[in-house]
Symmetry: C2
Subunit: 190 residues, 2 copies
Amino acid sequence: MKSIGAKTIVYPTPVFIVGTYDEKGVPNGMAVAWGGICCSDPPCIAVSLREATYTYGNIRKRKAFTVSVPSEKYVKEADYFGIVSGRTVNKFEATGLTPVRSELVDAPYVGEFPLVLECSLIKTVEIGLHTQFIGKIEDVKADEDIVGEGGMPDIEKAAPLLFAPDSCDYWKTGAFAAKAFSIGKKIEGT
Amino acid sequence: MKSIGAKTIVYPTPVFIVGTYDEKGVPNGMAVAWGGICCSDPPCIAVSLREATYTYGNIRKRKAFTVSVPSEKYVKEADYFGIVSGRTVNKFEATGLTPVRSELVDAPYVGEFPLVLECSLIKTVEIGLHTQFIGKIEDVKADEDIVGEGGMPDIEKAAPLLFAPDSCDYWKTGAFAAKAFSIGKKIEGT
């Protein structure tokens, strides 16, 4: 094994667009790769942000955020959400994407993206350069087009992106590999 | 948009094998999908565990863990790490995988997996059913076979798995989509 150093490299990291309102009620979105589900009950998701970001202040004030998951066809828009700041531009207007006001939390989500989580802030964890915001997932919403049999979202139809932190590029979701809590039973001792 | 309810569904979630030693020094590994990078400086990764797990007690006592990222060819072994408990079986022996003692932290990693993070516990966050352990990444190690030009790991060669929480299945990493901090510049206003 080759030592790479103390770096933030792991696979996969997600591509989340974190939606917030600023103090004037202007909707903003920011691309976040540092985050993930962090508790099953209550259902919670964590996103980490630098204090310097516009979204950081918005979450502090509004105590709410959304996570919108772009499908691969929105890779350009998702990247744009990570390049510019909501301080200087309305990113929804620039991309032509629709900020939909959540009926559950004080934040907007991206209407065109296939999967959305509406979150209320329940915990703030200071770590270092990044502050981690833990949001209770009040509801998950899925585009009708990605809802499969059984009424649940289908990852293949959602076509989410992955982010590779070292090379700084986006990758697509690939093929089905195996059923969880199942294929491992082929190993003796289960 | 269809309401799915307050559930832990987002794409992608990772497949991390969290490596620890128990109080007797027996190596253990556990599959974790609730986690991700949570800070750039210091470089940190978070993993969330239920108190009922064997790994939970191990991290509490040893103040260290590793994250080993399986490539797709190890999907069976990765799943096994999520099915059985280290209380009743030595999962490394059962799978035939090699527990490598970290020289930096008091925890073992999976010798055959292409990417490994060695972490020292710096913060414990009680959330609910899950407790989040935040580890400072002391080093990242990559199999020589996945190290590309420039000495950095290559996600395509690592071939990491994704976990879909609702359908409970594993998916492969797909094709390159786009360069980050680049393709978004095609939108006016950057």
